[in-house]
Amino acid sequence: MNKKTWLLFFVLLLTVSTALFGCASDDGEDTGGESGNDSGESSSQDTLIFGRGGDSVGLDPITVTDGESFKVTKNVFETLIEFGREDTEINPGLAAEWDVSEDGLTYTFTLQEGVTFHDGEAFNADAVVYNFERWASGTEDKFYYYKSMFGGFGDDEGHVIESVTAADDMTVEIKLKRPQAPFLKNLAMSPFGIASPKALDEMGDEAFNESPVGTGPFKFVEWRRNDRIVLEKNEDYWQEGLPKLNEIIFRSIPENSARLNALQSNEIDLADGVNPSDAAMIEENADLQLFERPSMNVGYLGLTTTREPFDDPKVRQAMNHAIDRQSIVDAFFEGRAEVAKNAMPPVIAGYNDDIEGYEYDPEKAKQLLEEAGLGDGFEMDLWAMPVPRPYMPDGQKVAEAIQNNLADVGITAEIVNYEWATYLEKARMGEADAFLLGWTGDNGDADNFLYVLLDQDNIGSNNYTYYENQELHDLLIEAQSEVDEDARSQLYMEAQEIIHEDAPWVPLAHSTPLMAGSSTLKDFVAHPTGSDNLMDVYFE
């Protein structure tokens, strides 16, 4: 027993000293050369090792919903429309040109010539039609994003797409039942990458999910679960001179600090998810460079509106007054975020800047609680996400600060943790009183925030607060088919006023997610959606 005590004690001592040693050796000579240039005589590095927080869920983009999966599929698949390199403007992708009819119901796409799938099959109108037909015949469980973006499947009433036909070999015509304003933006989303029909037929959905075949700049090589995904250069890529890299390895390193350490020791070349507190150190280090991902997200505290006492809007407003967002942003986002007052970030068209955010005012909060008959406060569970997310680098710390704020107005909050998948599942089922969560925009459209996160249609999927408001619903549905940009923005501004008043959330911050790379890495641009196209990247 005694021996064991000493052993434990030494292990502790060793751990601490090892950690300290690891930090102290920054200025020492790095002995390791470039990773992965063992192949031949090429002097410059052409393998990119991308360290990220988690593994992919699947590699068939239409079947998944998580950002980690899209990070990979973005480079294997291409969509008809592509986003800009650092924005969500619409650009030609697999469709070289397109034409929209006067009534906004018919889209005619002229496809890019000379594109082939990784399995050698030619890309043409039939392939596009095949993909759309596959998606439209699915179910919500299988193709979540298709329903979410296009309203349903097959003959569903909400289904926006009426037909997809091949007008000729390289022309596709898509007919809509009603105009959909963000239709082209939706098509540019990673889930709608065009897959090889032959590969799908031969492998079936399940095998395809493990070894995808697209038209993108990189071909899939290997996937070792929870360890790495390897992609190699597509030699027959249709864009001249691209991609510049020979190989990409996506590695999963869950801890932010461990990932940064791996970058510092040259184990990886690019690290996703950097703690804001490490930013200053990276900027000072000549071997590293810091990348800021343009902010297109929101981090919030959701209040489940079906659970007492959060079924009372007064209590929800009191929560909004009780929490000191500015201090939280300054402390735990290190100022690399903007305090949020709306459910969507300011970069998105339709943002309502006239709304006055709830100011930090504990007295006001107490007064509102008093009015709600809860002058003596109450007890609640406060759920904190267990993993760092781009919209909230440290949920645990934010929760502790909120806990302290709430104690000041008499609310006793107990912090609750679950493993990430369980957390999401339970919160989705409405089991949390209040929970921290966030959202990164998929396509830069207001619909992708307000409708997806707060409309009653999405209760049980992304509307975790179970917030329901018919007036809001009508506005959001109207906005979906409003083609005039100004009128549409107006609708979203009204929607934000309703949301502000009902306060199903305490919006916290719009963060600027950080990444870090070795200084030899060139032309990497972090995309606001979180899915980065790596075909331009090279090493100096």
Binding site: M1, N2, K4, T5, W6, L8, F9, L12, L13, V16, A19, L20, C23, N256, S257, N275, S277, M281, D324, S327, I328, D330, A331, F332, D394, Q396, K397, A399, E400, A401, Q403, N404, A407, E414, I415, N417
Partner: protein
């Protein structure tokens, strides 16, 4: 058994004398052991700290002030402030109370249950012994921290459940110790005598067997407190023990580990506190063993 048989009365007296004298003798020896005394003073220091913490700590447990976060140690904040702007010094002091409480209660719990099982196993032998000893073997077959994690996973993470988990994993250590002790004690003539005069098993066990097995429990206990505190810190570090904002040392380490470079004082002081208190109990335990363990007599 070469010596001539003694009269029962005479032996009884000798026995009485012997039960007193080892304690006195042990204390004499202990006083001469400087290292053990150092351990005793460290432990006493922390005990006083724990008892008086509400009065001597400059701040409460969770007085956040985000405008003064991560300040280095100064005359105002002796141990600096953490990332919530809380006084680390105050939290370390409050933490002493948590850690010592967990350490003591867990050890008392495991000692009581362990001794009870150990006595039963040792005294009755046969199938009772077989069942209890196999139970101990099963518990000992798991790495202790793994078992603790499993117990906490079942009960749910909280300081109280961490305490229970630590108590459970320490039961076999006490149990086995007492069992072996009882095995030898029960062969002593005075136990036979007690049985011969018709004393009930329960009385024999608790008035004779248990008191004569106390020394190893105390020695083992003081060492086990050190382990228990470390285990509590480990569980706290894994977010399986104390809940925020409780200033448990292990949880403090865990919460500050990302600040190692930026604000080392947030880790160094809780770490030092763990180290010191564990060192204190180990020195004390070693001293007690040297003083009281009959096998150590030279």
């Amino acid at each position: 058994m070469a010596e001539p048989a003694k009269l029962p009365e005479q032996e009884w007296e000798e026995q009485q004398e012997e039960t007193l004298s080892p304690w006195k003798e042990g204390w004499k020896k202990f006083k001469r052991n400087k290292i053990a005394l150092a351990g005793l003073s460290i432990v006493s220091f922390f005990i006083i700290l724990a008892i008086t913490s509400p009065w001597i700590a400059p701040q409460g447990i969770d007085e956040q002030n985000l405008s003064i976060r991560l300040q280095p140690p100064s005359s105002e904040f002796w141990f600096g402030t953490d990332d919530f702007g809380r006084d680390v010094f105050s939290r370390v002091i409050h933490g002493a109370r948590l850690s010592l409480t967990v350490g003591f209660l867990a050890v008392v719990g495991s000692a009581v249950v362990g001794s009870l099982l150990g006595i039963l196993a040792g005294y009755y032998g046969k199938w009772v012994d077989a069942i209890i000893s196999r139970l101990f073997d099963i518990l000992l077959a798991f790495p202790s921290i793994l078992l603790a994690i499993a117990v906490v996973a079942i009960l749910g993470p909280s300081l109280q459940n961490a305490l229970i988990a630590i108590a459970i994993i320490n039961i076999p250590n006490f149990g086995r110790l007492i069992r072996s002790r009882v095995l030898s004690v029960k062969e002593e003539e005075y136990i036979m005598a007690a049985r011969a005069v018709g004393m009930k098993d329960s009385r024999i066990l608790f008035s004779h067997v248990l008191p004569n097995s106390m020394t190893p429990i105390i020695v083992q206990g003081s060492l086990a407190v050190a382990t228990a505190i470390l285990e509590a810190a480990a569980l706290g570090f894994l977010s399986l023990g104390a809940r925020a904002p409780q200033p448990e040392w292990g949880a403090m380490l865990s919460a500050s580990r990302a600040l190692l470079v930026q604000a080392p004082w947030t880790l160094v002081f809780p770490g030092l506190a763990i180290m010191l208190v564990v060192l204190g109990f180990n020195l004390l335990g070693d001293g007690l063993r040297d003083a009281f363990d009959p096998k150590m007599k030279t």
